[in-house]
Symmetry: C2
Subunit: 216 residues, 2 copies
């Protein structure tokens, strides 16, 4: 039966067209200021049709995030293709993540705001996604693990946990930059400084051993 397959394809195509339209609208006006009617207009479909393909506005938001996450995972995998040490691959991943944030701020924003708002009842599917081997976090976790094996990364903390910690820490700073950047100037530092300095902290820790003269 070639017809049902073609229909399947068309259904998928339509679904993707709706996501395309939603991206345009959400990225332009912001998620909460966009209405389903806006999206329907952009997609040249009626609102009712959107609900044949997505359960809710939130679901549409999630679909966009999934796109962004898949793209991110791809970038991270590319970044650590070279077979260097775990520590080196970790640095490569960090650079790739920051590049992603710069190159695709809309996806990054979508993901961040989804994760926060999601608190009030996240799609459980999202938790499943995070655990999948192809998720950005798990790509990162494998690199950490490798660093543990080759001796370049501490191994007293389980790899997945260390991945979560580092990932969350970087996100914390990015989140700060994202919503409190007006605050940064009075403090006299730019976003890039902040991230650079964060890397120093991630590398060496915060305390200074008075016996050594490092971190002068």
């Amino acid at each position: 039966m070639g017809i049902s397959e073609r229909k399947e394809r068309e259904k998928l195509k339509r679904r993707n067209d709706i996501i395309d339209a939603a991206e345009k609208v959400f990225f332009r006006k912001g998620f909460s200021s966009s209405t389903m009617d806006d999206v329907a207009g952009e997609a040249e479909l009626s609102k009712g049709t959107l609900y044949l393909y997505f359960q809710s506005k939130e679901d549409l938001h999630y679909a966009i995030c999934l796109r962004g996450l898949d793209l991110l995972a791809l970038e991270l995998r590319k970044a650590c293709e070279e077979d260097l040490t775990g520590a080196e691959n970790t640095m490569a991943i960090a650079r790739a993540y920051l590049k992603y944030v710069n190159d695709f701020p809309n996806y990054f924003n979508a993901i961040m705001s989804f994760e926060s708002s999601a608190m009030t009842g996240v799609d459980p599917a999202y938790h499943d996604y995070i655990l999948k081997p192809e998720s950005p976090l798990m790509v990162f976790a494998r690199v950490i693990e490798k660093g543990g094996r080759d001796g370049t990364i501490r191994r007293d903390i389980p790899a997945k946990e260390l991945a979560v910690i580092l990932w969350s820490q970087v996100n914390g700073v990015l989140q700060f930059i994202r919503c409190k950047s007006p605050f940064l100037e009075p403090v006299g530092s730019a976003a890039d400084d902040l991230l650079l300095h964060q890397f120093h902290v991630l590398k060496d820790g915060i305390f200074r051993n008075p016996d050594t003269n490092e971190n002068m």
Copy 2:
């Protein structure tokens, strides 16, 4: 004129009563599921009256956050009253913050969700608040500064910036725990583990120097 002063007091009292009512409602049902009618009912006032004291629902949310932040700043100041080294005071502040998160999860949630949602146009007043010397972040920054002076904390990064970095990093992990805790169990780690391990990372960094046998 004693009357106008009494009126001033009464106005403030009413304002506070409204915040009390809003806290009860928001903490019970969550911010987004609560309605202004709910709050009006709890406060035994009409909805219109709420809008005489607050510009919007968001504004009410903000007022609750301010309470939470003032309380937090108080706890942090108490925690570093003892005149120890900057590093020791820093640890005390960290402990106090985690205790606060545990003791007042509702305030913590209110602050976190305000900061995320706020992204779409934060009250500029909030940025002012953060810069005030009595804000939690600035209390922390002074301790970091002290650590720089007494040689227990690295001084290659400006104190305020380092404060922002550490603060954001801890918030990042707390945020992860807050909205992805269902994810933690499959990974095999508890929230407390995660925070403990984060402290190790903050202290020592992530890389292992192959020449030493620390972090085995």
